[in-house]
């Protein structure tokens, strides 16, 4: 179990990645694909956050009690990276939702199968 | 031994290529004024011939006009150089282009063909590509103009725009592009194996590069160049391309395009591998077998063709293999015969195609069976046809006899009786499929050809000129344009590993 203790988050990340990937590729409903994408991206955020953690350290905000010793703070860089990744994820989801709305307005459904049928009929 | 030739910088080879390139542009721009357009073609033909013949004295005295433009790829430059072999091919092509331009003006106007601008522009483009092939100094330049020639002939093959023409175009492209791809691989391999692509008389490859590899490389070259020179398995595009207008079949499919293939073969055999190396790796026997077979089978097939142009096409396939046969014999006479046949065959075959065109324009008849008694109506045309037929069969007064004579001499010197037999047999076969036409024209009578009624002078005069030219080549081969000495010097250069 010691192997699991130290890095159980990696297993969770891998598990979430698998769910997200399945959601994106397996599901037929476009909105479910979008949800799958968000799960996928959250898994990666988890992976980065876990990478930044040092046992027994605190939030990387300068605290007079702890002083300037870097070892006392967790590694702030992955957090910054993930902040940007979150912005990107939100933007992608925003664009995806806008696309889904136009698709829904045009085809009246978000099921890929019905959309493809209606596309064939109209072409 | 002619002294070692040194090359001097001269713009002439480049000018030869550019003359018809500029003409092609001018032609396409002056599409609304037919007369101006036609004058561009004729002016370009005359200038090109002048430029090419201006190099004649220099090349004969052993100099080599050369121009290196720029590096087309690291280590490989776009370079043009006029050596005897290249000059004799360019000279015959440009001379015959003059006659063909007059002839095609008459032909196109007589039949009121559509899209004449595209026709004349691509014709000019083909000629500039032919000049590029003739004067290419290395394999890369040769390959570039080789492919440009394939593409610029395509619009001429599909000129009729009928479904048959389009499928002929597809077949034409399928064969020639696949040949081009094989040639590209061969050139690539040569670049990697030998490091250089420049033509050097006597070849620059050496047996140290592996016997089997070299034979494989040679067979790639054989396929690449063979497609255009109508070697037997790869020839079937030529008869179907006869759907093109007759001047196209006359100049391109008898003189420029197919001769480019055979000329390329001579370059590969003489200037890349070298006759001795080719002999060592067994390439000569391989080619001799294919060429011999092509000659015999093509002549037999020619007999079976009723359509006149298809019969001439198969005869071209046969005669091209004469030239290939010449390059296979290790004796200077063999090479001389082969190279000289490039010019003589061009003159004779173009005459026959011109006659076929004149007959078609005047009587609308294409098949040999419908030509009974045509001699009464078109005696001049049929007279020229007879001259051409005599030459092709290898009878004395016409040039064809001389080239066949040297070829035969070559086979005797190298002791190859089978090839000698093939040559003689094919002479008979040629007679077999050409003389019946002459006999049918003059000695059979028919009611619809009674009064004298020749085609337009614009077509008949070029006809007579080419016939006269073939006879000139027969009687006084080293005549005005020294074709004989050009071929002789090229042959000596290659076989005796002497001057380039």
């Amino acid at each position: 179990m010691s192997a699991l203790a130290g890095n159980y988050t990696y297993y969770i990340t891998a598990f979430l990645l698998a769910i997200g990937l399945y959601g994106m590729i397996g599901k037929k409903n476009l909105l479910k694909k979008l949800i799958g994408m968000n799960i996928f991206q959250t898994a990666i955020f988890l992976f980065f956050i876990h990478g930044a953690v040092k046992p027994g350290t605190t939030v990387p905000v300068l605290d007079s009690r702890i002083g300037m010793d870097a070892a006392a703070y967790i590694n702030p860089l992955p957090h910054v990276l993930i902040l940007t990744a979150i912005v990107v994820s939100v933007a992608t989801t925003g664009v995806a939702l806008a696309l889904l709305i136009t698709i829904y307005r045009r085809y009246g459904s978000l099921e890929e199968t019905t959309i493809l049928e209606r596309m064939k009929q109209s072409s | 031994m002619p002294q070692v030739a040194e090359s001097y910088f001269s713009l002439a080879p480049l000018a030869a290529v550019f003359v018809s390139l500029i003409a092609a542009v001018l032609i396409s721009l002056s599409s609304r004024k037919p007369n101006l357009r036609e004058t561009w073609t004729i002016v370009a033909a005359l200038c090109k011939f002048a430029v090419v013949s201006s190099m004649l004295p220099a090349v004969l005295s052993g100099l080599r006009p050369e121009i290196t433009l720029f590096d087309i790829a690291p280590g490989v430059s776009l370079a043009l150089k006029a050596d005897p072999l290249g000059l004799s091919f360019a000279l015959s092509a440009s001379l015959l282009w003059i006659f063909t331009s007059f002839y095609s003006i008459g032909y196109m106007r007589a039949l009121k063909e559509h899209d004449q601008t595209r026709y004349f522009a691509s014709f000019a483009l083909c000629l500039s590509a032919t000049m590029g092939i003739a004067f290419a100094a290395n394999l890369m330049t040769f390959f570039i103009f080789y492919e440009v020639l394939t593409i610029s002939t395509y619009p001429l093959v599909i000129h009729k725009e009928s479904p048959a023409a389009i499928s002929a175009g597809r077949k034409y492209l399928a064969f020639l592009l696949s040949g081009g791809v094989a040639l590209l691989l061969a050139v690539g391999l040569t670049q990697r194996v030998a490091g250089t692509l420049n033509f050097t008389p006597g070849g620059f490859l050496s047996v140290s590069m592996g016997q089997a590899g070299l034979l494989a490389l040679f067979s790639l070259f054989l396929v690449g160049v063979g497609a255009k020179s109508g070697l037997m398995p790869l020839h079937s595009w030529l008869p179907t391309a006869m759907i093109a207008p007759t001047p196209v079949s006359a100049l391109l499919h008898a003189v420029a395009v197919v001769k480019a293939g055979v000329f390329g073969f001579a370059r590969v055999m003489g200037f890349v591998f070298g006759p001795e190396l080719a002999g060592e790796i067994g390439a000569t026997t391989l080619t001799a077998v294919i060429a011999g077979a092509t000659i015999v089978i093509a002549s037999l097939l020619a007999m079976a063709q009723d359509n006149l142009k298809r019969r001439l096409a198969y005869s071209t396939v046969g005669h091209l293999s004469y030239i290939i046969l010449g390059t296979v014999l290790l004796a200077p006479a063999g090479w001389l015969g082969g190279l000289f046949h490039i010019t003589t065959h061009a003159a004779m075959k173009i005459t026959l195609f011109f006659c076929a065109g004149a007959i078609y324009v005047k009587t609308g008849r294409e098949n040999v069976s419908e030509l009974d008694g045509i001699g009464r109506q078109m005696p001049i045309t049929m007279a020229a046809f007879t001259v051409g037929a005599l030459g092709l069969a290898g009878l004395p007064p016409v040039g064809g006899f001389l080239s066949k004579w040297f070829l035969a001499q070559g086979t005797v010197e190298t002791g190859q009786p089978i090839l000698l037999a093939v040559l003689l047999l094919s002479g008979l076969l040629n007679a077999g499929y050409l003389f019946p036409i002459v006999i049918r024209a003059f000695f059979k009578s028919s009611k619809d050809f009674t009064k004298f009624d020749e085609a337009a002078p614009l077509m008949v005069v070029p006809l007579l000129f080419t016939a006269a030219f073939s006879v000139l080549l027969g009687i006084y081969p080293d005549g005005i344009f020294h074709f004989y000495s050009l071929s002789a010097e090229a042959a000596l250069g290659v076989v005796a590993r002497g001057a380039p």
Binding site: M37, F40, T92, A96, I103, R106 | G169, R170, L184
Partner: protein, 493 residues
């Protein structure tokens, strides 16, 4: 300290921000700012290229933070060459797009140009950045603007764009995952710094995982063969000006990133000998060449045919990278340039045909040869170049790839390169036949003629460019590309 490396992306970003403002005042300002921005960016990248060739690479770090902490922008032979190509094609297509956009999506002009500039900024950012994570940010900027641009098209465009969004974000996330693995094993994000720290870690599985994730991600963005599923629909349903902007450069920039990873980050020795990554790419590239050509033959819609031919041409670039020998890589890099010109010209012709006749099926092109002579002349030159007929540019990239394949001694690759030019001949000459020798029955094309000068002139420039590139390719190769492939010449030790 020259500002060039950062000036190229900024001018594009700035004009992307100015366009919405100017758009309120007057719609035409959008096009004006876009073309000024693109022209400035091209001028800077050209100047950068000349400076790099004379003085060597230019390094620039942002915000005063010296590398490896700060984000570093690098203009070396490879990135300056790519920046010049991308901005030039962007400029030419932008000039072309004015009339075409007004014709197809008149009510979306301002957002379209803002997004186009953002797309160009993102692509140029990927090229110029020397920081692994910054590359992810620019990758997402360009992808997001591409998703939005592609959705502007007709009814089926949003569906195609959504599928591309899903696949694109998978690629982006894989890339971030790969960078995460690299960061946690080497402790740095700067490419040069990571490159120094990696050799010691070549045995670790994390670095191997990073390499695999990054190459899958870039392979997907590059539409390398099995990962190309998004490409055909997107190129077919997006507005023609958008496809003309995206097709020639977007996949090439991911190919550039792949080459940057091969040459700079993971040394070629690692990816070629220790991990079979390059040979996998080579085999995928070769398979892509054949798949793309065969699928292109099967299409009747002209845009779809060009889309599949893009898949096969990207296969060439993949093959060139996969060969990982100097000549192969020169072939790949030259093909990035050649294909950008050829594909841009072909899509501009497609746009002009749509602008005049509104039809896409090849069968409806009968008689266009006479009605649109100049456009079809440019099309013929580009088509012949795609088939690989010398002296057009397409032939020479095939020439180097061929030599690279022969050097590598892999006859399947050599055969694929040669066979594909025959396959390309099939589907391009089928169109040429239709254009020049087709019988046009319906009289619908009575008043069809060449498109207006602002559309025709860029098409002609690109067509002529293909020829000029062919003749001058050895200057490009010897002056620029040979510098780029120098690291490949190291012994295999």
């Amino acid at each position: 300290m020259s500002h060039l490396p950062v000036l190229i992306p900024i001018t594009l970003l700035l004009s992307a921000f100015l366009i919405p403002l100017a758009g309120y005042v007057k719609r035409d300002f959008a096009f004006a700012i876009a073309s000024v921005g693109a022209f400035l960016a091209f001028a800077f990248s050209l100047r950068g290229l000349l400076m790099v060739l004379s003085q060597g690479e230019i390094r620039y770090h942002l915000g005063g933070w010296a590398p490896p902490i700060g984000i570093e922008y690098v203009l070396d032979a490879l990135s300056a060459f790519m920046a010049a190509v991308v901005t030039l094609i962007g400029l030419v297509v932008l000039i072309y797009s004015r009339r075409s956009v007004l014709h197809e999506v008149p009510q979306r002009v301002v957002p379209l140009y803002a997004l186009a500039m953002l797309l160009l900024a993102g692509l140029v950012g990927i090229i110029v950045t020397g920081d692994l994570f910054n590359l992810f940010v620019f990758l997402e900027i360009s992808s997001l603007s591409a998703y939005a641009l592609m959705a502007i098209g007709d009814d089926r465009a949003p569906v195609a764009s959504f599928r591309y969004l899903i696949l694109g974000s998978i690629a982006g996330s894989f890339y971030v995952l790969g960078v995460g693995f690299l960061y946690f094993s080497t402790g740095s994000l700067n490419m040069a710094d990571v490159a120094q720290r990696l050799p010691a870690l070549y045995q670790s599985r994390a670095v191997a995982a990073a390499a695999i994730f990054i190459f899958i991600a870039l392979g997907l963005k590059m539409a390398l063969f099995p990962l190309h599923l998004w490409l055909p629909d997107v190129y077919t349903y997006a507005p023609s000006a958008v496809t003309a902007l995206i097709a020639p450069i977007m996949t090439k920039v991911s190919a550039y990133a792949l080459i940057r990873m091969l040459l700079t980050v993971f040394q070629p020795h690692y990816l070629r000998d220790m991990l079979p990554v390059t040979s996998v790419i080579a085999w995928l590239g070769a398979a892509g060449i054949l798949y793309g050509s065969i699928m292109a033959i099967a299409q009747s819609d002209f845009r779809r045919m060009l889309a599949y031919s893009s898949v096969s041409q990207i296969g060439y670039i993949g093959l060139g990278i996969g060969l990982a020998n100097p000549l192969g890589l020169i072939g790949a890099l030259l093909h990035i340039l050649n294909h950008a010109f050829m594909k841009a010209c072909l899509f501009l012709v497609a746009g002009s045909i749509r602008f005049r006749t509104g039809r896409w099926e090849v069968s409806s092109f009968a008689g266009l040869g006479r009605k649109m002579p100049w456009t079809m002349a440019a099309f013929t030159v580009a088509a012949l170049s795609m088939v690989g007929i010398p002296p057009a540019a397409g032939f020479f990239s095939k020439w180097y790839l061929l030599l690279g394949g022969i050097d590598r001694g892999n006859w399947f690759f050599v055969a694929t390169i040669l066979l594909s030019s025959l396959l390309a001949a099939v589907y391009f000459f089928r169109v040429l036949e239709q254009v020049y020798a087709g019988r046009s029955e319906e009289s619908a094309f009575k008043n069809v003629s060449d498109p207006p000068a602002s559309m025709l002139f860029p098409t002609i420039i690109l067509g002529a460019g293909v020829l000029v590139l062919g003749l001058l390719n050895s200057i490009i190769v010897s002056r620029i590309l040979e510098l780029v492939v120098a690291p490949l010449n190291e012994p295999r030790g």
